[in-house]
Amino acid sequence: MSEVKIKNETMSAILDKYNKDKGHLIAILQDVQAEYNYLPREALYYVSNELEIPLSQVYSVATFFKGFSLKPRGRHTIHVCMGTACHVRGAMQILEQIQTETKTDCDGTSEDGKFTLESVNCVGACALGPLVVVDGEYSGQMTVNKVKPLLENYD
């Protein structure tokens, strides 16, 4: 998938919201990601220039935290909960099945740009485990056989 073009107005609005304060780098990157669904390369340059933080430091923050993605994401984001409670109830099998169905590796995006598959450590809804979250919608008590029907709801 190709990189998106960033808009200077959008970027400066985000930076102004935080008074261009270096201390808010993480919050700024979170807002950028909320806007573009990932962190475009151009956006990192922009943030680095405007906040006067070395690009290396912006990059290190953007790659350290799991919540950030440097690659464009698909139309739908699938989060598979890999927390302990989900793990002991078979989350690994669910993840593998989703990988097979979407022909995607974990932390990858399907070729048609439809799904991005990511694992998360725990969303704190353990009673529902094993749990899959697609675009913020929770699907609990998953089984291998429920994977295909679930993904068919999205296009």
Binding site: L25, V61, F65, T84, Q93, G136, T143
Partner: protein, 621 residues
């Protein structure tokens, strides 16, 4: 109400406000709908709206109210609805049940049997919330208010006595007395370390510097723990009140709530709560006319387990990579931006108003000698009553798992309970009568941690669990210390080998040796405790490791390389359900009344056939 006259400028005004709120609330029936993250997934908001609509269509707005609350705790039975004042608990409520509840319970006063809790032996249905075994043995001091208040309504919190502890502290206690009260109560940090809270406050108070901070740690990274999320979502004002009192005691004027970005509802409810508290003048300048200034901002975490560690968390607030630093100088003296900083966990803060209101001697009468008060645990995994339980310190694991938790589902055999998350350990059945407190759990090689309790049954493999935690920590290690960064990876590779049947007996010695080195050679808590799951499983379940190594078998049937799925011919009715459901197409239908054939070379061992088979005709060997 405009901002000017909504501001409370004295304690007297707060009390008048409280009286006014209570007086204006008609004594009506309340339908309390759980809208915590778990129950929202069962349609919490939709169901609450359906109740509101139905009340309107019946013209009952004057006599029945709907309350959308935070998590009630009994997540397994979501969606939960409680009808007050009778306290009727309805479980697994669906949208279709709303009209029946309105017609039968609200209008006629009848109890709907089918929605009640039923005991595990299937004989008795229980009506009242407090009589359900899950709730009966709990002591819900911190968590109890969740079911009664709408977290987005500050008036709800004030109506149940909220901010009265703050008023008490301001009107009758010097900061030193507040610290002394917390000290005598014996409050220890609920985030895992168990460090005495009063000590932290005192050293920050005594530290030099004009600017001081208090931080609330809601970076609940421990997988399987969700009590902080539920408190933050369900009762944010109790945490804000605790923080104001703590700031008053430690002489700090700025507060930060650090919340995981994976908890969107907690972020939202905290934002609302802070705004409301500011509007009432409970945050800001000259709080309640005391002359004390304090404000709170939210900082969202970027998703790194290590940021639960105090120095890493502070680095992350400063916009830096979340790497811990050595604590030769405590953060209470040099923390955020090198200023004196008090950092406590969500649950710790929520305990503070309770102690100030009811006194240290009352609080310290609960619990064990060195662990006072209650602790909230998230009881998850192979357990009948998944949910959040608040119990006095010193209760036994057996009571929590069997009496409150309702035991293991499907009559399976209990194997172990994991406490303390990735830093904790595996506690076997022989230690189930252990009283749960900070020191006892540490003594057996585990720890309290933030309070996750993951129950394992006979179908869980301890090698797999140890490997799971190592993989988790390997990914979450920040990479600063070599023993943690490289050592955990090497240990995980050894466990990979063992789970694939390539292990040797000498591996166990290497694992033990490496565990010791990583423990002493790492800077922060993550590395120091990382070997715990391996060490405890080796200590209590060595046989199971040896089964993988010597017999090349996984007794629990989990480690894929060591198991095969097989069709039990005599049970197979050739119903073809497994054939239809096998995602790999590995099962072949031969003929009617002839057992199906599973082609091992195509099998991905996903377990789908076993899940769907109704005749026990699939087995793991």
């Amino acid at each position: 109400m405009n901002d000017k006259n909504s501001k409370l400028t004295s304690i007297k005004e707060l009390e008048l406000k409280r009286a006014q709120i209570i007086a204006e609330r008609p004594d009506v029936a309340t339908i309390s709908v759980c809208c915590g993250t778990g129950c929202q997934a069962f349609g919490g908001q939709k169901i609450a709206k359906a109740f509101v609509d139905s009340i309107a269509s019946h013209g009952l707005q004057e006599s029945v109210a709907v309350k959308t609350t935070g998590c009630h705790g009994f997540c397994e039975r979501g969606l939960l609805v409680v009808i007050r004042p009778q306290n009727i608990l309805y479980q697994h409520v669906e949208l279709e049940d709303v009209e029946e509840i309105m017609n039968e319970t609200i209008l006629k006063g009848n109890v709907i049997e089918r929605l009640l809790y039923i005991t595990s032996d299937g004989t008795t249905r229980i009506t009242a919330e407090e009589d359900v075994p899950f709730y009966k043995k709990q002591q819900r001091l911190v968590f109890g208010a969740n079911g009664y208040i709408d977290p987005t309504e500050i008036d709800d919190y004030i109506a149940i006595g909220g901010y009265s502890a703050l008023a008490k502290a301001f009107s009758s206690m010097e900061p030193e007395q507040v610290i002394d009260e917390i000290d005598r109560a014996g409050l220890r940090g609920r985030g895992g370390g168990g460090f005495p809270t009063a000590k932290k406050w005192k050293s920050t108070r005594e530290a030099h510097g004009e600017v001081k901070y208090v931080i609330c740690n809601c970076d609940e990274g421990d997988p399987g723990a969700f009590m902080d999320r539920s408190l933050m979502e369900g009762n944010p004002h109790s945490i804000i009140e605790g923080m104001i009192i703590g700031a008053y005691a430690a002489a700090a004027n700025s507060g930060i709530v650090y919340i995981r970005n994976e908890y969107p509802l907690a972020v939202k409810n905290t934002e609302i709560a802070i705004r409301q508290a500011q509007k009432y003048g409970l945050l800001g300048d000259d709080i309640l006319g005391s002359g004390f200034n304090f404000n709170i901002v939210i900082s969202r975490g970027g998703g790194a387990f290590v940021c639960g560690e105090s120095t890493a968390l502070m680095a992350s607030i400063e916009g830096k990579v979340g790497e811990p630093r050595a604590k030769y100088v405590h953060t209470s003296e040099k923390g955020l931006y090198d200023r004196p900083t008090v950092l406590n966990n969500v649950e710790t803060w929520a305990n503070v108003p309770l102690i100030i209101n009811r006194g240290a001697s009352w609080y310290s009468s609960i619990g064990t000698e060195h662990s006072k008060g209650t602790k909230i645990f998230s009881l998850v995994g192979k357990i009948n009553h998944t949910g959040l339980v608040e119990v006095p310190m010193g209760i036994t694991l057996r009571e929590i798992i069997y009496e409150i938790g309702g035991g293991i589902p499907d009559n399976k055999k209990f194997k172990a309970v994991l406490t303390g998350g990735p830093s904790g350990g595996c506690i076997p059945e022989s230690l189930l009568d252990l009283p749960v407190d900070f020191d006892e759990l540490t003594r057996v090689g585990s720890m309290m941690g933030s309070g996750a309790m993951i129950v394992l049954d006979e179908n869980n493999c301890v090698v797999d669990i140890a490997r799971y935690f190592l993989k988790f920590l390997e990914e979450e290690s920040c990479g600063k210390c070599v023993p943690c960064r490289e050592g955990l990876e090497r240990m995980r590779q050894i466990l990979d080998d063992i789970s694939e049947g390539k292990g040797t007996e000498s591996h166990l010695g290497i694992l033990e040796e490496m565990s010791e080195s990583i423990k002493v050679g790492s800077l922060c808590g993550l590395g120091q405790t990382a070997p715990n799951p391996v060490m405890t499983t080796l200590k209590y379940f060595r046989e199971e490791y040896l089964a993988h190594i010597v017999d090349k078998k996984c007794p629990a049937g989990v480690c894929k390389s060591l198991v095969t799925y097989n069709i039990v011919d005599e049970n197979c009715t050739a119903c073809r359900i497994c054939v239809k459901n096998c995602p790999a197409g590995a099962i072949e239908f031969i003929a009617k009344k002839t057992p199906v054939v599973l082609h091992q070379e195509m099998c991905t061992k996903c377990g789908a056939c076993m899940d769907v088979c109704k005749f026990d005709a699939v087995e793991i060997r």
